[in-house]
């Protein structure tokens, strides 16, 4: 039962007032602090947000101002968003793990006047760049530890801000609040979300209330989400996915958002709460799986045998059962038994026992992994979206789940595929523009309101689903004209648990080469079981046995590429394993784990030269940034392996 | 055939309860001090001697009260004279100390109380009881002394088990045994804990001594009863209170049953002269356990990170 909104509730502050009325006693937020789950009902949240809004107003926040929000998922940071919006100000959430430089750019570009941050760490970062931010007048913090002795002329504890706000309540505060909220309308700017661009500086995507509220309401309707849902907020606040799932949709439907105790306890907290609706990038689903498999290797023989048997059974029929297809009775009974013995406990351990809907997006997910989760009885579906779309472009409807598609257009969304193969869409969620970047906006939005996604894709004739191949601008060609879609190849490689990251090169080259990162968890545990000693990531990454194992994976990928006529020529000829993991702090991948191919090509130029030059190994010295900002140099001699490409089946047929 | 076996089983279980009690004394001290108390057997003897001799001069209840006081005083003396000075030492050193205490106590006991065989008259009925006469012809024979002794021991075992498992003492004790340094630096009064534990072990020894003494008479060989506790500990785990209970019952029953069931087979097969399996069967069982599951049924596997 999703809640449609009338035009009267077209902004989040208005939705808050509505929720405080109709969901007054329902829990809206929970946060585990000092070992205890603390909770707030919608009416309590309304009171808190109002106090905060009045406080921010007293501190000088006005209509049209920007409020930066920096930290991990804490209730008060979410409330600051609503408080700002109630005043007609615009929240600008930012990534908590940005380094000071990145923060400086955004805070300046967005013209932020007040920042609400989580703790001392963030305060310190801002103070280190405050001389570059003349507009920043106040920094407000949530967690006071360590800040007692700081100079508080431009620093304030959030409780203090709320106290200021509550003082006004005895006067005209209440009326002023209601009037301010009433002034907001659907076409107003609701939030600016800066995307971590794979190239160039981040762009500020402007989304209006209409964008978010309508998309949220539609999404809730698409999946029948109501006020009983429980979600856990653990993805970055600055990311549109979190903004939709942990802010917009909860406000629209009235369900509860749970904030974990710390990033390390997310899995445990998820279990404790028993969330009903999950969203995670494919990486999370992969990691959970790898962890389970690794743990299983250490279990007793009996347990392992039972596990393997039932998982194989699930692979055969689990998905069918979930999809509601016909399955013979005895198989169904065995599956029930498996549910009792294996799948149920497994789902419990993974924290998804009560999950009735799980989405994944942001990247392609390995078909094996996707099917595995579904075979366990978890309704995992894919969706495709962008910040510029307020998330939703396509999603898989129930009953039409395939491993390699991203679904059909959501409610009120239209899509089309251009000549060049680029996917375009039009929807109520289409962003207003890039903040202060009219040219870039014009590049992305066509005059008749279509948005260029920047992704290349095709619409599958059989199912009507959209399939995404690669970033449009990354699709290139080898020197012999073969289509080269690097992401396509990289994703196939990353489907193997042993391979954490892959970077493919081939555009305007003679053949395809690949740089790989091993997954330390999976490969480390494999090494332990096979008595391979290693002292560091670098040592493990250089080990010949690991190379052998990865060579097998590459060969398998080649085999699957060989089966597609368009891709057969793009098989991988040579590969190497990088001596260090690709790191966002070094700028090699974005904070949302997207590889920066051009940057990597420059940084590892000697390796690239060796790959295409035919050498068997190459030396590389890279500068790395440690967590505290200091720099060091990491050098290694990296080996290169050749892989024989597999002839396309048609060739074999001809020969036979 | 079933009748005699059942009778033997019951008898074995009753004896087993006594074994459990003695083993419990070991477990308590091991949990609290991390040391295997070699002197537990002699404590049983000493306690029994005290009671036997004192009851010659005064009514049983008075003798009992005085014996309790003596055992507590003994615990205090051990803590003050021996344990206190050995804090933070290796467990092997503590073990040697208990060895010393054992020999001392033996000699001391005999000097003070004498080395004859004494008897303890607890006033238990001695006529055999017959049960289940309807099912088995003639009924099953149960020795009332054993039954009463077993009941008293069982009660004591249960009380101790509950006290040490349900309350936080169990955890505190293990902490103390784990790391003396840590316990001391946190302010846990080691001396007080040891005093309490050894006093309880002493009382356990007293009750065990009383029961055995009533059955066999108080003599030197009682201290050997403690050796029987060893297989019980191996089976049940050195640190487990439920283990001591279960182990004792198993050993008691297995012993008696092996005599009745196994001995005839062995005598016939190997043309042996006689039985006497009862004496060594427990140890063979313990040996087997050491091979298969050294930590016992309930003991802890040592988890250590390398």
């Amino acid at each position: 039962m999703a809640l449609a909104t009338s035009t009267a509730e077209d902004t989040f502050p208005k939705l808050l007032i509505r929720n405080a009325r109709i969901f007054a006693q329902r829990t809206a937020y929970r946060h585990k602090d000092l070992g205890i789950w603390r909770k707030w009902t919608w009416s309590q949240v309304h009171e808190e947000v109002r106090a905060l809004a009045l406080g921010l107003a007293a501190l000088g926040l006005k209509r049209g101002d920007k409020l930066a929000i920096i930290g991990s998922n804490r209730p008060r940071l979410y409330w600051s968003m609503c408080a700002a919006q109630a005043l007609g100000a615009v929240p600008v959430p930012m990534y908590a793990d940005s380094v000071a430089e990145e923060m400086a750019y955004i805070l300046d570009h967005a013209e932020v006047t007040i920042a609400v941050v989580e703790d001392q760490e963030q305060v310190d970062k801002i103070l280190s760049i405050s001389d570059r931010l003349p507009r920043l007048s106040q920094v407000i913090y949530d967690e006071p530890r360590g800040l007692r002795d700081y100079d508080h002329t431009r620093l304030k504890w959030i409780d203090e801000a709320q106290k200021l706000g509550r003082e006004r309540l005895s006067g005209d505060g209440k009326a002023w609040w209601e009037a301010s909220v009433a002034q907001g309308k659907g076409s107003d700017l609701a939030v600016i979300l800066y995307t971590s661009g794979t190239t160039g500086q981040p762009k500020g995507v402007m989304l209006t209330f209409d964008n978010l509220v309508v998309s949220a309401v539609n999404a809730n309707r698409f999946d029948s989400l109501g006020p009983d849902e429980e979600v856990i907020a653990y993805l970055p606040l600055a990311w549109v996915g979190d903004h939709m799932f942990s802010y917009a949709q909860p406000f629209a439907a009235g369900f509860c958002v749970n904030c974990p105790e710390s990033p390390e306890t997310v899995a445990e907290n998820r279990r404790e709460i028993g969330t009903t609706y999950a969203f995670a990038p494919p990486r999370i689903y992969e990691n959970l799986l790898t962890l389970t498999m690794v743990r299983m290797e250490d279990a007793s023989r009996l347990k392992r045998a039972a596990f393997n048997y039932f998982i194989a059974l699930a692979r055969r029929c689990g998905e069918k059962i979930l999809n509601g297809e016909k399955v013979p009775l005895h198989t169904r009974l065995m599956y029930r038994l498996g549910d009792l013995l294996v799948y149920g406990p497994l789902r419990n351990r993974l924290g998804v026992s009560r999950v009735r809907l799980a989405y994944t997006a942001g990247e392609a997910i390995g078909p094996e992994i996707f099917r595995f989760w579904r075979s366990l009885g978890v309704n995992l579906k894919q969706l495709y979206g962008q910040t510029e779309a307020s998330v939703y472009v396509t999603a898989q409807p129930d009953g039409e789940i395939y491993a390699d598609t991203v679904g059909k257009p959501n409610i009120d969304v239209d899509i089309k595929v251009a000549e060049s193969g680029e996917v375009l869409f039009k929807s109520p969620g289409v962003f207003a523009g890039y903040y202060k970047e009219p040219e870039k906006t014009a590049e992305t939005k066509t005059p008749d309101g279509w948005v260029r996604t920047g992704d290349a894709g095709i619409i599958d004739a059989k199912t009507g689903h959209l399939k995404i191949i690669d970033r449009a601008k990354d699709v290139g060609r080898l020197n012999d004209g073969t289509l080269f879609a690097p992401k396509y190849i990289e994703n196939k490689l990353k489907f193997y648990p042993n391979i954490r990251e892959a970077v493919a090169f081939g555009d305007k080259r003679d053949f395809v080469c690949v740089m790989l990162n091993i997954d330390l968890t999976a490969v480390g545990s494999w090494a332990e079981r096979n008595n391979i000693a290693y002292g560091s990531y670098q040592e493990l990454a250089a080990h010949p046995a690991v190379y052998d194992m990865l060579a097998e994976h590459v060969e398998e990928v080649n085999r699957s590429l060989a089966e597609e006529p368009a891709m057969a020529g793009a098989q991988v000829r040579r590969f190497l394993i990088l001596h260090k993991e690709l790191d966002p702090d070094d700028g090699e991948i974005t904070r949302t784990q997207k590889v920066r191919r051009r940057f990597i090509a420059e940084r590892y130029a000697p390796l690239l030269a060796a790959l295409y030059g035919g050498a068997g190994e190459a030396d590389i010295a890279t500068e790395v940034t440690f967590e505290d900002g200091r720099k060091g140099v990491l050098s290694a001699r990296v080996k290169i392996r050749d892989v024989t490409p597999i002839p396309a089946p048609s060739v074999l047929d001809k020969a036979a | 055939m079933l009748g005699p076996v059942l009778e033997t089983l019951i008898g074995g279980l009753l004896t087993g309860v006594l074994y459990s009690l003695v083993a419990l004394g070991f477990v308590l001290i091991f949990k609290a001090s991390g040391v295997f108390n070699f002197a537990q057997g002699t404590m049983v003897l000493f306690a029994a001697l005290s009671l036997a001799r004192l009851s010659e001069f005064m009514p049983l209840f008075a003798a009992l009260a005085l014996s309790i006081a003596i055992m507590i005083a003994l615990a205090y003396a051990i803590e003050f004279l021996v344990l206190r000075h050995l804090i933070n030492q290796d467990s092997i050193i503590l073990f040697m100390a208990t060895l010393g205490i054992a020999y001392f106590l033996e000699g001391f006991g005999q000097s003070v109380w004498g080395s004859d065989i004494y008897s303890i008259n607890l006033g238990f009925p001695t006529n055999p009881i017959f049960v289940l006469e309807s099912i088995f012809p003639g009924g099953l024979l149960i020795d009332p002394t054993e039954l009463i002794a077993a009941t008293i021991c069982a009660v004591m075992v249960l009380v101790l088990a509950v006290f040490f498992q349900v309350t936080r003492v169990g955890r505190a004790l293990r902490a103390v045994a784990d790391d003396h340094q840590a316990a001391q630096s946190v302010g846990i009064p080691l001396g007080q804990i040891w005093l309490m534990v050894w006093a309880v072990a002493g009382l356990v020894a007293l009750v065990a001594g009383m029961m055995w003494g009533a059955k066999l008479g108080v003599q030197f060989s009682i201290s050997l009863v403690a050796l029987k506790a060893l297989p019980v500990l191996i089976l049940g785990g050195f640190t487990s209170i439920p283990g001591a209970i279960v182990g004792g019952l198993i050993i008691g029953a297995a012993e008696k049953l092996s005599e009745v069931l196994l001995a005839p087979i062995l005598i016939r097969t190997f043309d042996l002269a006689g039985g006497g399996i009862e004496n060594w069967f427990a140890y063979v069982l313990a040996l087997l356990f050491l091979l298969i599951r050294p930590q016992g049924l309930f003991g802890e596997r040592i988890i250590e990170r390398i």
């Binding site: 000092l34 070992g35 390390e264 306890t265 440690f626 | 902490a175 790391d179 340094q181 630096s185």
Partner: protein
């Protein structure tokens, strides 16, 4: 670098000598620790640093000399008395109760703070139980401070070394000590763990005013953290002053280079 504090003297060690049989661990050492400072005790291996801490803590009784703590002078002190007096300690090789969880270990640090006597705690009934909530809250704050929420229910025997040391620090903190003795708190840690530990120690000192004496080998850490430094060599004090003074001291340099004097 931090300047020496001007606080009153919290602990003073007066001409203390300690010997084990023929081995003279500490000979005639005198120094003091002021309230609110971080005092580093350094010296080559075998200099008697741990023995010195053990004397302050009550584990060893010196043959000669006196210790004055919070105005009270004694020549012999037992560990229990040191603990009650407000001295908490961590150990070189991590003395944790391996079978207990991290949470229980830190709770053990509250033993002396529980108003009900130890035996009431043991029995854990009645009045002791309501008190437990108070203590649990404080322990949770410590867990939050040290960021070990995710391992609070893990038996410490299973934890990696760095985390074990953090739990041990937590347990010492739970005692709300007036004087915290840290024996090589950074031993065996990688760079990141060391930095975290440094930050915790600094925070403790700056925000809670805890007086800290620490034995440490990493000179960088010593220079950054301490107000004053005591240098021992072969059981004898060879220098005592600010980090800068000590660094420049000839005798100290010689001692580390192994030049006998």
């Amino acid at each position: 670098m931090r300047a020496p504090t001007a606080g009153e003297v919290l602990l003073s060690v007066d001409d203390v000598s300690l010997a084990f049989g023929g081995v003279r661990a500490v000979t005639g050492v005198s120094f003091d620790i002021r309230k609110g400072e971080i005092r580093a005790i350094i010296g080559p291996n075998g200099a008697g640093k741990t023995s010195m801490l053990n004397v302050i803590n009550g584990f060893y009784q010196p043959q000669r000399g006196r210790i004055t703590f919070k105005g009270q002078t004694r020549s012999r002190m037992r560990p229990y008395e040191a603990a009650i007096g407000g001295i908490a300690r961590t150990f070189q090789n991590v003395a944790l109760f391996k079978g207990m969880t991290a949470l229980d270990n830190i709770m053990a640090g509250r033993t002396l703070k529980m108003r009900r006597g130890f035996f009431w705690q043991i029995v854990r009934m009645g009045p002791a139980l309501s008190e437990e909530m108070e203590h649990r809250l404080l322990v949770e704050e410590i867990i939050d401070f040290l960021k070990i929420q995710h391992i609070r229910k893990t038996p410490v025997g299973k934890l990696p070394y760095g985390l074990q040391k953090r739990v041990e620090l937590g347990r010492a903190l739970a005692m709300e000590p007036d004087l915290l003795l840290l024996d090589e708190p950074m031993a065996g840690m990688n760079l990141e763990e060391k930095e975290d530990m440094c930050r915790y120690i600094l925070d403790l000192n700056e925000h809670f005013g805890t007086t800290i004496a620490l034995i440490e080998h990493d000179m960088g850490v010593v220079m950054d953290l301490s107000n004053r430094v005591l240098v021992l060599d072969h059981g004898v004090k060879i220098a005592d002053g600010t980090p800068a003074q000590v660094q420049a001291d000839r005798a100290v340099v010689d001692a580390y280079l192994g030049v006998s004097h």
